[in-house]
Amino acid sequence: MTMAKLFPTQEIGSLAKPAWLVKGVRGERPTPEDLAELDRWAARLAIPGTEELRALLTAEGERSEADRERIRDWGALFAIRFLEAAGLDVVYDGEARRVEMYEYPVRRIEGFRFYGHVRSFDNRYYRKAAVVDRVRLREPFHVDELRFVRQHARRPVKIPITGPYTLADWSFNEYYLQQLEDIPDLRARNYEAKRRFTLDLAREVIRPTLLALEAAGATWIQIDEPAAATHPEEVPILVEAFNAAVDGVRAKKSIHICYSDYRLLYPHLLDMTVDHLALEFKNTGDYDIVRLFKAFGDRREIGLGVVDVHSDVIETPEEIRDKVLQAARTLEAPERIWVNPDCGLRTRTWDVAFTKLQHMVAGAELARQAVGAAA
């Protein structure tokens, strides 16, 4: 998927889930404030027919799985319209149906066991699973989700999926370590066990899922690998697994990597069969890193992070324009730059996220005008 205009915009992660959606899926009743919020966004996004949703949310008695699924459908629809109304060129559903990017897929793979929560930072936590048996895909996931988005979206669609390296890195590795007890050096044993685990995930889980998504109409698949650069010595595993996962996949492929030192990925990243690199820049403020891609002769598209997803401070369109133009000058290839937030905006309220995305779209337009004026 290519865009005729310069600096097209995209979202590259999840959105916060509205309270009515969270409670609806849990089987709880919304508060009047939750319903008022629903009405406010339905009006703002011009979403008709929400009487059905209100009825689902407020109905007495136990909520059926079918009703929960309808509520999830509404959650996805709101997110699609949200991203469209913000003006993005490529959209998805804000991952409205997924608990989060790790637990959702792991629960659909045989071989994992959850023990409890671990901390991400501050008072934020996630449930971390251990691989206790060889991994096996139960059935390809995200397929119905993609069909729903394709049916309702009015803009081109890109589907995100968590990559094999991140799934492995964010899990405890028990099974694959136990297969290698004859390696006495603990560090060497860990490396080989990680490699085997990641490749099994790539071949047995992610690749069949990507092929199923492609069969369901996916033309652009974003593989999320936020863990990509966390262990620099394991970047060869990341690349080997990515290539194994996308083997035979014809759709456009992007990789999303955030909160990383991108210097650590090169030169191995040049061997990755990927079309687009979506990266975080705003958090570090280091836009000069774009030089790295030029220095290594990497001619793939770059998704330039220009919005800090961990701050309520709203970036101005002018500030965003300047960052885009700075990167374009450095790269000397504006046609390869896409504009996006650093990561998903799930930690921001919808009001903050919406304004940030609107400013991002406006900033990209200003950059486009500046390039046009200079031409």
Binding site: N123, Y125, D169, L177, R187, T230, H310
Partner: protein, 319 residues
């Protein structure tokens, strides 16, 4: 007998996870959360005592990250952007230094559950000055050496306050030394730490993790601390060199980052092998790093196994 103890932050229980999340959303009372932290600290202390650990910690349960008590309590800096904590899927807030750092390290006492530790021989854990300085964003000093000296004085003031509060052992965690090696770092880090530990009057240790200690271990064994620790899961055993001399070597032989439970017999053998290689007469067995990367029940089981490994180690002089 060898010694055994923890080297970092302990995970929060599911109850504490739920409570801190609710607190964050304004649905949990601050006083109730404070009481829960105190109760959980007592539970973690009891767990360590029952496992036969030689020093206990309060689990550092109130610490949002290793640097936070200082970064949010000391004038001249504040907790800044969310930043990856070495090669973990865990993040810390980078201290942003915007002014002179006064030696007001006693602020750490606000984060210590002293009631839970009363009656126990307890250890305190602080960031080493090199690690703190290198992980901070300096918008004030513009001179790395000046920053390092003031950070050392700050951390010394924290250590002094902890000693006055009754701790018997202070560990200084220095992961940057091994995870982000840099020419000349060991000498400068060692000088800074020497400034911190001089005349403290309790046992002191430097502990490293998340990187291969082999290149710097001979130098660390010369530092003016009583014990030197490292992460065996990040170290290439065959390259481990150095003479322990009078130092206690703390072998990080239980993986703080993986849930697979170690076999105490094999782990004890590994610790012995490392001790022999370094000629260590005094040895301690510790987790490779903080246990906060594990869910609470797994971490608790690792503590029990830590005690078991200690009991299985051949008699050696007690530190």
């Amino acid at each position: 007998m060898a010694t055994a103890h923890l080297v970092g932050i302990f995970p929060r229980s599911e109850e504490l996870v739920t409570a801190t999340r609710a607190y964050e959303r304004g649905r949990y009372d601050a006083a109730a959360l404070d009481r829960l932290f105190a109760e959980e600290a007592r539970r973690v202390v009891a767990l360590q005592a029952e496992a036969g650990l030689d020093y206990v910690t309060d689990g550092l349960l109130r610490w949002q990250d290793l640097l936070r008590p200082l970064s949010e309590g000391v004038d001249g800096m504040h907790p800044g952007p969310v930043t990856r904590w070495f090669d973990n899927n865990t993040f810390y807030r980078r201290p942003v230094i915007g002014g002179w750092l006064p030696p007001m390290g006693e602020v750490v006492l606000r984060y210590v559950d002293r009631d839970a530790l009363a009656g126990h021989r307890w250890k305190a854990i602080l960031p080493a000055p090199w690690t703190f300085a290198m992980l901070a964003e300096d918008d004030y000093y513009a001179d790395e050496e000046a920053l390092l000296l003031d950070v050392a004085d700050l951390i010394r003031s924290a250590a002094v306050a902890l000693v006055e509060a009754g701790c018997a052992y202070v560990q200084f965690s220095d992961p940057v030394l091994v995870a982000r090696p840099r020419e000349g770092a060991v000498e400068r880090a060692g000088r800074a730490l020497a400034r911190v530990v001089e005349g403290l009057g309790v046992r002191t240790a430097v502990h490293t993790c998340f990187g291969d200690v082999a290149p710097v271990l001979p130098a660390l064994l010369e530092w003016p601390v009583d014990e030197v620790g490292f992460d065996l899961f990040a170290t290439t055993l065959d390259r481990l060199e150095g003479r322990a001399g009078s130092k206690t070597v703390l072998v990080g032989a239980l993986d703080g980052r993986n849930s697979l439970l170690e076999d105490p017999v094999r782990t004890a053998e590994t610790v012995r092998r490392v001790a022999d290689r370094l000629g260590a007469e005094r040895v301690g067995v510790v987790p490779s790093c903080d246990l906060e990367f594990l869910p609470w029940p797994v971490a608790a089981e690792k503590v029990r196994r830590l005690g078991e490994v200690k009991r299985r180690l051949a008699p050696a002089p007690v530190a």
